[in-house]
Symmetry: C2
Subunit: 231 residues, 2 copies
């Protein structure tokens, strides 16, 4: 493997648990609407609302909550009570206040790599929410820069690399989303290490695995990263 | 006046109208709740909810909407209808989709200054929302960097200046909020030009005008800025 001087890390579901918090709230949401619709209809309608609102709201808990309230009103033909909407608001606050739980081996791996590589966080979502999670994580010290973006596509990565004077050839991106973490970086000529999380939000799913011999690596966990970089 | 090489600009209510959009929605919100409470109670309760949620939600339309829904449920003892909450959601979407209306003289002033100075935008709020407004404004080309922050306090400005290699002594910040645009920059040793907007959100109000002889300037509009810089 060629040598990568700079390593970018996604945050949610790469460094710490996130989708499991959404999944728990989805369960509560299905229960709340169970008297009106089956779980599959609730899931499908909520996801459709989220996708319709994505350009407007962007990623993150607040946009999710607004879409969840909108969907609940729609699915109940306006019969949902204010008390139930209050419950939804409380669920949203609970998501934002949720403790940050690191994934296995993250702190040790970052500590080891920070000694030999330049490390970046490149994440998307709500600005304050991501900053809060990073502060709670205790991982800030390992990263030279933190980039919180509204979207993680080819143009966004190109802009980050340019801004920090990083050549694509020396850059490896690590993350759980093929769509947001791996494919755009491969397209720019960089490398990607995919570390799947056990849950993937529908919006991040891709049908085709990347084809980029020698630049795409599949890992089972972050602990495998130092060995990959030494290989 | 000493020479300032770098000029930072706030965005909302400094480059384009913003608070008037909130004010319009506040009017609609008071009407919606008029059968339950007088306007002053509605305003006071909504502001209290916003302040209570600020650390959690941060600045921006989405947090405002969540606080507005929460307040409406509280002020009606849960009697607000789902249909009325749907109206609130539509008001929020309308705010996000609102056209960007530049303040008087902004485009000409920026065009003139961009030829002689390094210009930055330093704004706070929702990431995607601010990016969208900047794109709609047609002003992007005048700015070397755009910083969208979750908070604009002394630490945040210090970090921006450090990141871009700017000495506080060569930096002038221009904005409508004494609290967010002027006071923290003066505290760091930089200069501030205050350009008031005709509406000020309660959270941004300060009781004491800044005392910083030779480093604080009061302007009536952005058009006065080039003359100030030549003085």
């Amino acid at each position: 493997m060629k040598s990568y001087r700079v390593i970018g890390f996604d945050a949610d579901d790469t460094l710490w648990h996130n989708e499991n918090i959404f999944e728990h709230v989805h369960e509560r949401y299905r229960e709340l609407l169970a008297q009106y619709h089956d779980a599959a209809t609730v899931d499908r309608t909520l996801f459709a609302t989220e996708m319709r609102n994505l350009a407007l709201y962007g990623y993150g808990v607040k946009g999710f909550m607004l879409s969840a309230i909108e969907t609940a009103i729609e699915l109940t033909d306006g019969r949902i009570s204010a008390e139930e909407i209050r419950t939804l608001l409380a669920l949203g606050r609970g998501m934002i206040e949720h403790p940050v739980e690191l994934l296995d081996g993250v702190a040790e791996t970052l500590a080891a790599l920070a000694a030999t590589h330049r490390l970046l966080i490149i994440t998307k979502g709500d600005l304050r929410d991501q900053e809060r999670k990073l502060a709670k994580s205790g991982l800030r010290e390992f990263f030279q820069h933190v980039e919180i973006l509204s979207e993680k596509d080819e143009a966004a990565y190109a802009s980050v690399l340019r801004r920090h004077g990083i050549a694509a050839e020396e850059f490896l991106m690590v993350g759980n989303s093929l769509k947001s973490d791996i494919l755009p970086v491969l397209a720019l000529g960089g490398a990607g290490a995919h570390v799947p999380y056990h849950l993937t939000w529908g919006h991040e799913r891709v049908d085709q695995p990347p084809v980029a011999p020698g630049r795409f690596f599949q890992l089972a966990g972050l602990r495998e990263l130092p060995a990959l970089l030494r290989a």
